[in-house]
């Protein structure tokens, strides 16, 4: 066993429906270091979400294993907290309640990481402050905007102190301005906390701006990793400066070239 923090080894996944078998993923090999920010990009239906769900433990792989700190991942857990695309906040709980339900469960026991009630409250508030949502803690999800909901979703995931933070197209449902604002927040949080992050996106700029590496997936069926691009832009990154940066333009062009010249969406799957 090597010392890689997070390792996908020969991951494959097939779905069976009646007589039909669809192979979604094949031969995924990927190693991620601690503190790394990795984006998965590819066309719709290429199995990005399937791969993320396998890492999250919500789906089982058909072949291969995922190792986190040398241990096999085979069930969901707070060490791989997920930020869902549609925020998945519980509508009957307040903003505070949505984060607390996770914090109480993860830090409520009597283990080494346990916190008492006051500490848990402080920890919830700390994480809400991190995403600038502390002032809205008593609001319910239907009373706040889409961007704010996603901030709470991020706070809930961060509050679990995950070893890897999984983000499934976290900003896909947001308008461009809100999205840019949240991307800056995520970069800021990543700089402060040094989380290991795996994020799905289909936004080229988002991938290049946020990531240390961009993993580009080929089209399904039997999608696999087509290419991995290392983004060597210095941090902190500022979107305004990068707009005219030659290295940024080169990375962006490389991803676009991969997605639209070499791995176009096949005609039948155009959507």
């Amino acid at each position: 066993m090597d010392k890689t923090y997070l390792k996908f080894e020969q991951i494959g996944r097939s779905f069976h429906r009646g007589q039909m078998t669809t192979e979604v993923l094949r031969d995924i090999d990927l190693s991620i270091d601690q503190g790394e920010f990795v984006s998965l990009i590819g066309h719709s239906g290429c199995g990005k979400s399937t791969l993320l769900n396998i890492l999250g433990g919500l789906l089982k792989s058909t072949t291969g294993e995922v190792f986190l700190e040398g241990k096999v991942v085979d069930e969901p857990g707070p060490d791989r907290a997920i930020v869902f695309q549609n925020h998945s906040l519980l509508p009957w709980l307040t903003v505070y309640g949505n984060v607390t339900i996770a914090v109480d469960k993860v830090f409520g026991g009597s283990g080494a990481a346990a916190k008492n009630k006051a500490e848990r409250h402080d920890w919830v508030m700390h994480n809400l402050e991190l995403v600038q949502m502390a002032q809205a803690k008593d609001k319910r999800p239907h009373e706040i905007s889409g961007g704010m909901k996603q901030r709470v979703g991020i706070a809930r995931a961060l509050a679990m102190q995950p070893k890897v933070l999984l983000m499934d197209e976290p900003f896909g449902a947001l308008d461009a301005l809100t999205r840019a604002h949240l991307q800056d927040s995520v970069m800021d949080i990543h700089a402060r906390l040094g989380n290991t992050v795996m994020m799905i996106t289909h936004d080229v700029d988002e991938a290049v701006l946020l990531s240390d590496r961009v993993v580009m997936m080929t089209n399904g069926p039997a999608a696999t990793i087509g290419e991995i691009l290392r983004i060597d832009l210095p941090r902190p990154r500022r979107r305004l400066e990068l707009a005219t940066d030659a290295e940024y333009a080169r990375c962006r062009a490389a991803v676009l070239e991969f997605l639209y010249a070499r791995h176009r969406v096949p005609q039948r799957a155009a959507a």
Partner: protein
């Protein structure tokens, strides 16, 4: 809004005047005069109250005209009030036996509903959760529910009289068996419709089975449960009036039957009015509690 006002302090104006050079004023929230706000409130109130008053007035006049002919088989409203004046003004009299005021009849009927309906709510929600969560239980129980729920309430009464050998528990059983079906069915639909997202959240934070039930399943199902409870309370109020006609004793159902037997038609009409109002209030009560419990989050 006159254009001259739009030139100066045009906060209340929503029509900008092109080309007009507006004098710059500091923003202040528009404070409207008191009488204007009162007038608006009065208008809103009138908009809600006037239509039903007109319609009800029209119905009463038509009823009065239709039934005031001599030899009419049903009493006109004026005759109803004259005949039943004692019954209307003193709901609390008690001459022993079943000769009591409206309050005692209605409260007896309501207490029967409270008991039978409470049993139905508890058992119905429990069975609904079971059927919603377990495919096996659904396949086993759902066909039985679908058949039993079509049986009219009163058809159960002879069987329950035979089983309990007593009128009181039989009436409660009829309420129970009438109101339980919509509660079971709506609860099970609610449990089955819990979004996968909520289950994923529960899986990631590793809630135990019991915690999932308390913190996810029940709250996510509350809007559905209350839909079932609202249908159920309406049905049980329907059933109690019919059941009481047959079992006798104190209760608004038997009061109507007794009034019919002694040709007190006016009393029947007053009793129907009470039954309608109380059925409406029961429905609003359950809706209100449901809104309170689900924090205004309706079923999506």
């Amino acid at each position: 809004m006159p254009a001259t006002r739009a030139n100066t302090a045009s906060i209340a104006s929503d029509v900008p005047v092109p080309g007009a050079t507006a004098e710059i004023v500091a923003f202040r929230p528009p404070v409207r005069p008191v009488f204007e706000r009162l007038r608006d409130a009065a208008n809103r109130f009138a908009g809600i109250v006037v239509p039903p008053v007109i319609v009800i007035g029209f119905i009463i006049v038509a009823w009065q005209l239709l039934c005031s002919a001599p030899g009419s088989s049903l009493p006109a409203p004026s005759k109803v009030i004259a005949d039943s004046w004692d019954f209307i003004v003193d709901p609390f009299y008690d001459n022993g036996g079943i000769d009591k005021g409206a309050f005692w009849h209605l409260s007896k009927s309501l207490s029967r509903v409270a008991v039978g309906y409470s049993f139905a709510a508890v058992v119905g929600i429990a069975l609904g959760v079971l059927v919603g969560q377990s495919m096996w239980a659904m396949r086993g129980l759902d066909p039985i529910f679908q058949v039993l729920r079509t049986i009219p309430p009163l058809a159960w009464l002879p069987l329950s009289l035979a089983g309990f050998r007593d009128a009181q528990p039989s009436a409660l059983f009829v309420i129970f068996i009438t109101s339980i079906w919509p509660i079971i069915i709506n609860t099970s639909v609610g449990v089955r419709n819990i979004p996968q997202d909520y289950r994923n959240v529960a899986a990631v934070i590793r809630l135990s089975w019991w915690e999932v039930f308390w913190k996810i399943t029940l709250p996510a199902t509350v809007p559905y449960i209350f839909t079932g409870l609202r249908i159920g309370i309406g049905l049980s109020w329907l059933a109690i009036v019919a059941a009481e006609m047959l079992i006798g004793g104190v209760g608004i159902g038997f009061f109507i039957w007794d009034a019919w037997n002694s040709s007190r038609i006016s009393d029947i009409i007053v009793a129907l009015f009470y039954i309608g109002i109380i059925g409406f209030l029961l429905d609003r009560l359950i809706a209100f509690v449901g809104n309170l419990v689900s924090h205004g989050v309706s079923a999506q």
